[in-house]
Amino acid sequence: MSDALAELLRHPGLWRGGDAGAPETIPTGFRALDAELPGGGWPLATLIELLVPAAGIGEVRLLLPALRRLTAAAEPPRWVAWLAPPHMPYAPALADAGLDPARMLVIRPRAGVDRLWAMEQALRSGACAAVLGWAGPAHDSALRRVKLAAEEGATPAFLLRSPAHRGDPSPAALRLALSARDYGLDVEILKSRGGGPARIERLPIH
């Protein structure tokens, strides 16, 4: 940003719209969650971290409405990249969920160190509508690179990790901790750009 512009942006009476203040978002499909998220939905083009205690509590179902939106309007079509998922994504279920199975890209690196690298490439390519990645321990700098790639490729990056990493530093623009409760999902907002911590209980995930 140029000095002159930075100077202007410091002006106290200045109202900043769009790019500087509120990041672009898309609704999550869950109204109770949208209400707590700055901008009313998932921020696009950045890193979103989800802490998930066990695969299968509803962490992907939480993302399905957004994935549907992101892919439905993409013309030409773009990919949903599944990076190192815990199991094989099941095509009939994806089709049931309204996603085009032909636009799914599964990437299963053998080595853990390749995961974030591959995530970065998928994000930076601009060829993906969204990238979902599963990763373990990661250096702050590697996560920063993922975030930067998300910004460069204008692609949302959903990173799913264990709650063991809750205390680690994270550059994610949005950080959520998920937990299963009573057939629903409790969502704790640990960090959000432009919002405070919040907790949404028993989100109806089907």
């Binding site: 901008g39 993409a74 599964v106």
Partner: protein
Amino acid sequence: MFQERPASIAPATPGRRHALGAVPPPRAQPAPGVGELWLAAHFARLPLDAVLPGTGQARAAVVTAPEDPRRTVVACNERATRQGIAPGMGLNAALALVPGLHVLERQPAAEAALLDRLGRWALQFTPVVSLEPPGAVLAEVRGSLDLFGGAMALVRRALAGLSASGLSASLALAPTPRAALWLARARLAMTVTRIDMLPGVAARLPLACLQWPEDTVATLDALGIASIADLLRLPRAGFATRFGPRLLEELDEGLGRRPAPRRRHVVPERFDERLELVAAAEAVAVLQPSLERLLARLEAFLRARASGIRALRVDLLHRGDPPTRLSLALARMAGDAGALRELLDERLGRCRLAEPVVGLRLRSGVLSPLQLRDAGLFERGRSADPEATARLLDLLRARLGHDAVFGVLPVPEHRPERAFRIAEPGSLADLPVPWPAMRPARPLWMLAEPQPLDGWTGALVTGPERIETGWWDGHDVRRDYYVALSRAGVRLWIFRERPPGQGWFLHGVFG
């Protein structure tokens, strides 16, 4: 706030610039706003336009506010209007008129974003643009009238741009921003150029165009006051006591009796960066890589803002002398550096350097959005052209191995473990998949092999779904599937062989 160092904005040939003529008069001058002419654009349908793309307007559609218990119609499209729907109507009444009505929820964030974009779009007419949320843009255009060939030509041009984007607006011109706003809200496409005409014009306006708080309007109504003319007859002191000084000030501002400071200006954004050269360049050809770096940054800057420019200036900086200046003006808005690069190459080729060049400076004209309506979030990023996909696949496979990257496709087959296959990414599905329409849900994750669940104690949620098939090829399956919940809250897809006996197997996880 538009003061900039003159040296940095002076065009190559300093001359009369319109914007400078529009600088507000000095404070000492008693008559406020003399000489100003404000264009107000009121977007009554903004709540709808912000959430519904142009192609969605084929059906009657309305927007309601979710927090409003009556679900009053906030805005509706033309088709809805033709079928008798109007803003202010309850949703039930609207649905009674048009049963197939498309009902959308108001999205304040989307409205604010669209208004901001409209403000930036208005920067093409003048650098002095101000937003009036929730649905209006104000622009001081006196200094731009000559440039556009008069007030009517400017209005026509603005309307054409808006309607090309499928946006409807009511436009009006007046010497004070507030009066222009009143006229636009009243849908009076009027131009009032003289400040002394304002009281007479305003007197004919309905009270509603003031958009005062409901209770104030109700009180005024009870007093028998229905128009601004009635209002203007009230004694000033009494009015101020009863309704507070703010509304009186508003009236005075509108009529030009007191200055109306406009805040919330939309700041014209420009790209302006410089690059020092490692070694002084004696020849133009040596500048190429550095210029390319600046152009790449300009391109990223424009892409991040989904904006384009029509003017660009390149300064070749010398140690002592004033810079050599190359100015480009483009016929069409440029959102990438392609067109600029060609023009610059050509210009540079003809350029004679009198002095060595020690640095470069690239400064753009005012940014303007490439698209007024957000036709899709997806046009913002680079689209998945086959090339980007091919590059990505090559890159991933080169490091991870060919088989580490693949697609998954459904296969028309009732046995769950055979209902999908690994495929080259992007391959088409075999056939329209003949699933029964109401087939129970399938899990997002499938295990490679069913796993025995010893001593299973979780809760069954739904089921059984009986799958009995495959007897013709020897791989027959006779199972009862259930959706179950583990103690950890994981939603599982488990089955029991029929006849029961061997216990439970885990086959999938719902994700």
